[in-house]
Amino acid sequence: MLDSIQIAFDVESQGEYKVLLNGNECSGTKVIPIEVLPTHKLNTLEFCGDVVVNKLVLDNIDTEYFVHHGFIENSQRGNASKTCVKYFFKTPIWSWFLDWKQNDNSVIRELSKAHQGFIPL
């Protein structure tokens, strides 16, 4: 049996948009209980449409500026797209997010960010 977590988000859109978890469309409003993959697998979460993702709360944990690290068209990163913004995450969320945060704030990454601005991971 798969584990379940709750996701909440704040999305601005021009027209309709879809939320896809691991390729499957989620129905519901802005708080959705979802079944996630086993801990060694990467989950994908996509917001498809003309969208801006302003906030992403996974398992009741605010992922802060991770929201700006979505994968968008033309090999770019960000939180806005005319097609889809795609995020990757693992569970448990607390552990995955701390690993991500530690990596994003490492000295090497900070130097790159200071020199180039935001760069893809």
Binding site: N60, I61, W94, S95, L98, Q102, S106, V107, R109, E110
Partner: protein, 226 residues
Amino acid sequence: MTIRLSENYPKLIRDLFLYDVGEEHYPNKELTPQQIFQQVSYMPLDLETSYDAEAMLEETIELPYTQSSTDADRCYLYGPAGTNDPRCELLNSNNTEFEYKINMDTCPAIKDFIEKMNAIGQVTYISFKRMMPKHFINPHVDSNCNPFKVYIPLTWPQGTYFKMYKKGIIPFKPLVPFLVNTGNNIHSVVNDSNEIRYIFSFYADWSTLGWQTITKNSYGKLTVDL
């Protein structure tokens, strides 16, 4: 050791304290200072100096703090001459002149302590921190800072915790200095007590013989107990 915090704290912090079972392990052999800096996340540090901790605490309580609504109030007390508060000794700084940042006439015990530390080797930045009950510091890495700092609790009320991700709870006690690597390890601090917590921390020139000797000797004393 895992801790169940009160619901007062964000879920990320509660989960970190509850589910992270990582511990610090010390290699049971002699290490060079360089190896200690590379491999140890925290350890007690014997400063080999006496100081008047009671007087320091009295002075600490009266310091002019910059207040914070949720984390720790700060008082920047000693650091590079002529610059704004860098909040830590920055990795890219090469300062050679240091000065007190407040009038030290009312803090003779703290001043005496700093002079004793400078006699070991140059101290590069000192700040005092006051944390109110139920306040917390979100998980973060001090990546722009000198990774290694000396952290000295003046008070450590029951319910106060310093958690380093995958390395456990640092076993702080009042007046026991620790060397902590906060530049490479994500960490979070909570005061889940009803008392105010006072600590101070400082950065030093770790390349000086004095600080390398203190570090190596402290590790040596630690391995005796393993």
